[in-house]
Amino acid sequence: MTTTMTAQATQVYQLFIKATPEQIWDAITRPEFTSQYFHGVTIEATRDERRTYQNSELKNVSQVLEFDPPRRLVHSWLSYYDPEMAAEEPSRVTWEIAPQDEGYALLTVVHDQLEGAPKTAEGVSGPGWMMVLSGLKTLLETGKPLTSFN
């Protein structure tokens, strides 16, 4: 994708997924699901913490600010995987799940408070979040991962 935009301090992504809110909630909070679509890492979110593992090694712990299954998860974000981004201020990610008719749910992801993290904003914008969300949708709708991260 060619893009010349300066990445935004608030980024909004929204998509319909043919799944129940509970299925989506599990897919974003439980390690057996996250490992299949989140850039090759495994994520576990509990009421207090969102932990990121790579090859069973704990890489990052972010703070869970709101935990309201199966509707709303808010947590802090730090792009720990890149030294320059990791030095920036933490930002915030909000997942909102709204049930729709016919077995669909609307998932809205808002990544904001990126004013103090321009490199992170650039890094996660567009393809960054898109890969995660496309992968999540594909996994929930087909039962298979979009890409393998081996």
Partner: protein, 109 residues
Amino acid sequence: MVRMDDDDRVFKALADPTRRFLLDRLFERDGRTLTELESELEMTRFGVMKHLRVLADAGLVVTRRSGREKLHFLNPVPVRLIHDRWIHKYAERRVSALADLKTGLEETG
């Protein structure tokens, strides 16, 4: 409401120059109010609202409340899905057709 397999609304929304102009403004700077968007167009507030509603129905624009303001955000997901479904496929084919042509010409030349 849009559905993920409902490309019609996205194509319809994109088929209008004013709506593409609004998307470009949001691409430059996201999270704008109706008043801000309106100031860049010689159009009534009602007219801009109508266009924004079509964009919202197609899922291309998402509104979020921030205090008393209603902010408009560009949602890149539908365009990405259209790209994956419609553009990428045909562009690939075109590229490979050109590659075949090149090979053919080089072989005969």
